[in-house]
């Protein structure tokens, strides 16, 4: 039996004038999966997300959400939660008021909101500051509230656009915890980020985009194996130093040890950043 995708982009293309923003993108995200969408600036990630939530219509192709519905369908949109990169909150309102307002917009019954708002405020550590206007909050507090607003109506699908941009390690840790909870609750998450270690840590699969095209898609370990390149081995013997790129650093180490005692060594395995740079190049992007 075929498992239905929670998010499916099928041969989606979108242009703005002469600029091809997304070029024939096909992508399926399974229920409960945390999917990391990576790419340099201008790769087409935001356009893809905007099409996924129905803010933009594709020129070609089709997008299906949930059980095959359109993102323009209010019933489907009720299943979506979005935390934009910009802190999409009202500065002059308190955390409580922001959550209540967005809950009402999500058509949540008042009784449900009454319980859900305090629950979320406690979860993100803002209960004590619930009645303060959020213009008085730090960047990390706002970022946590930004995520909480996306979760207020218990969506089945959450889109997180750079959820940890510009926050301190404590807030980043708290956000990771919250995203981890989403995984445990079976929520499907589409995550875009520039932090490779974040994508590596949180995502079960990642897709790497550049110039509107999906360059690679798969589990992080598979992508590293296929696109990460060789491991880098640095070793030092009494007589000389070694710097090698190799597919099998252990074998190389054994060989070097056989030629004389190693004073120190370091193995640098390829990671997602290598995959990213190998696929998208090292040229600076605007």
């Amino acid at each position: 039996m075929e498992i239905l995708s929670m998010i499916a982009l099928m041969n989606v293309t979108k242009s703005f004038g002469k600029t091809l923003a997304v070029d024939d993108l096909s992508l399926r995200i399974e229920p409960g999966e945390i999917f990391g969408l990576l790419g340099p600036n201008g790769a087409g990630k935001s356009t893809s997300i905007n099409m996924t939530v129905g803010l933009l219509n594709p020129d070609k192709g089709r997008i299906a959400i949930g059980d095959g519905g359109s993102p323009h369908d209010p019933a489907i949109r009720k299943q979506l939660g979005i935390a934009p990169q910009a802190l999409a909150l009202y500065d002059e309102l308190t955390a409580m008021e922001n959550l209540r307002f967005f809950g009402k917009i999500q058509k949540m019954p008042s009784g449900m909101l009454k319980d859900r708002v305090p629950e979320l405020l406690c979860k993100i550590g803002l209960w004590d500051r619930r009645n303060d206007r959020i213009k008085t909050y730090s960047g990390g507090m706002k970022r946590r509230l930004n995520l909480a607003v996306a979760l207020i109506h218990r969506p089945r699908i959450v889109l997180l656009d750079e959820p940890t941009a510009g926050v301190d390690p404590q807030s980043r840790h708290a956000l990771f915890e919250s995203i981890g909870e989403l995984r445990r609750d079976g929520v499907t998450v589409l995550l875009t980020t520039h932090y490779m270690e974040e994508a590596e840590k949180l995502s079960s699969r990642v897709g790497i985009m550049d110039k509107g095209r999906l360059l690679a898609l798969g589990r992080v370990s598979d992508l590293i194996a296929s696109h990460g390149g060789k491991s880098r081995l640095y070793a030092q013997r009494a007589d000389r130093e070694f710097f090698l790129e190799t597919d099998d650093p252990m074998a190389e180490l054994v060989g070097l040890q056989a030629g004389g005692t190693l004073l120190q060594f370091k193995v640098e395995s390829p990671d997602l950043e290598h995959v990213f740079l190998n696929l998208t190049g090292r040229n600076l992007r605007d």
Binding site: L56, P74, Y90, E97
Partner: protein
């Protein structure tokens, strides 16, 4: 509907929490109205420097002397005029009152002890009772002065006595007994004046023996104000102040949609299970409520503290609702024209300022040259001003107001629908 109410409630809350925005929305229009109203209004009915027209029907030395006294006075600022012109000026509310020195004024002053006293008529709007009373008092004062002067000048007094004696002798309507007593009294008085002690200057006491003689008769004639003129400068400045407030509201709410877009909150709203009409409807409702409250509050102050008396409260209410609807539509259109806060604010203010300049929001329509009044037909502000003034002081009937109302609703509808269409189009691009 709940989503619309939630968005409107949120927008109103944001407006109330923005102290600067709140001040400029609700208090600035009142400050403008009071400031310009006080500049253009009369001085509140105070007698000091009261400007009046004066009509001299008598054209005698006595009337000329009386006018000279008034011209030299601090209490009045007089302008000579013909009767018809004076009445018209008062009727139109351009002058406070006119004073007419009736024919025979000089002769009556000469006779003093015989016949009717000198007569003056003042023409004034019956609503200005206080001013009328003060004006009568001022005239009486100068009438008494003339009377007193005659008593203090023996030669003038003798001439008056002589004239009176001749008049009494030749008068046929007086009974003999009275003629005899008056002749005796005046002869005795003439003899008294021949004595060396002069009559000194000083106030005439009620016990002086002349209290029964009337130095001046002032009659007041009602000249009702032409109803289509403004009651005072505040009648003009308050509608203008309200207009500025409403324009400010439209500009602020227009920018607020762009702020939602740039801050990302619009994205949240657009991805929520609500229609785009709910988003725009919520903004529109908040803007509508704010403009209605602003107009009603400012007019309340105008009525309570500045003596504005709208011709019709029901018609004024409909005008305010129509104006609010018009500017909600304009706001909706402006909100989708700018992509950034700066461009939206710039476009909004430029468009609204232009509308206001040619539409009577800055200069009253009735003082504009004719060609400009014609050109102002293209400005939505003009129709808003006409609707507001029509129900405050122009005394428009329901039929006369229907045209501006329909134009206001038309502009509002076109603006709203265009805004919704452009908003939907921007999303599907």
């Amino acid at each position: 509907m709940n989503a619309i109410l939630a968005i409107a409630h949120k927008d109103l809350k944001l407006l109330l929490r923005d102290k600067t925005g709140f001040f400029f929305t609700f208090f600035f229009p009142i400050i403008i109205a009071v400031f310009f109203g006080s500049i253009f209004s009369d001085n509140g009915g105070k007698p000091v420097g009261l400007h009046v027209m004066i009509v001299d029907d008598d054209q005698s030395a006595a009337s000329e002397a009386f006018i000279a006294q008034l011209e030299a006075s601090d209490e009045l600022s007089v302008q000579r005029s013909l009767k018809e012109e004076a009445v018209e000026q008062v009727r139109l509310g351009k002058e406070v009152a006119y004073i007419e020195i009736k024919k025979g004024f000089g002769d009556a002053q000469e006779r003093m002890f015989w016949g009717d006293p000198p007569e003056i008529e003042i023409g004034i709007d019956p609503a200005r009772r206080g001013t009328s009373g003060m004006l009568q008092g001022i005239l009486m004062k100068y009438g008494v002065n003339a009377f007193q002067k005659r008593f203090s000048d023996p030669s003038l007094m003798r001439r008056s006595i002589q004239d009176s004696l001749e008049s009494i002798q030749s008068g046929s309507t007086m009974d003999d007994s009275r003629r005899k007593h008056l002749t005796g009294f005046l002869t005795e008085l003439n003899a008294y004046l021949d004595q060396p002690t002069p009559i000194v200057d000083g106030p005439v006491s009620g016990n002086s023996g002349f209290g029964g003689m009337n130095p001046l008769v002032v009659t007041a004639r009602d000249v009702a104000l032409e109803k289509r003129g403004p009651q005072s400068g505040y009648s003009i400045s308050f509608p203008q102040g309200i207009m500025w407030g409403i324009i400010g509201c439209a500009a602020s709410f227009g920018v607020s949609l762009v702020i939602e877009r740039t801050r990302g909150t619009l994205m949240r709203l657009q991805t929520a299970p609500i229609d785009q009409l709910h988003i725009l409807g919520g903004k529109a409702l908040a803007c509508f409520v704010t403009t209605c409250v602003l107009a009603a509050g400012t007019l309340g102050i105008a009525i309570l503290f500045f003596g504005i008396r709208p011709n019709s409260f029901p018609l004024l209410s409909i005008s305010i609702v129509s104006i609010s609807f018009e500017f909600v539509g304009i706001m909706m259109l402006l909100s989708v024209l700018g992509r950034t806060e700066r461009s939206a604010a710039g476009i909004g203010w430029a468009v609204l300022m232009m509308m206001s300049m040619i539409g009577g929001g800055m200069l009253p329509l009735f003082i504009m040259p004719e060609w400009m009044q014609t050109a102002s037909n293209i400005s939505p502000v003009k129709w808003a001003m006409i609707a507001m003034e029509g129900s405050i002081w122009r005394q428009f009937s329901l039929n006369e107001l229907l045209v501006p109302w329909m134009i206001l609703w038309g502009i509002g509808s076109v603006g709203f629908l265009s805004g919704v269409w452009m908003f939907r189009r921007s999303r599907s691009e």
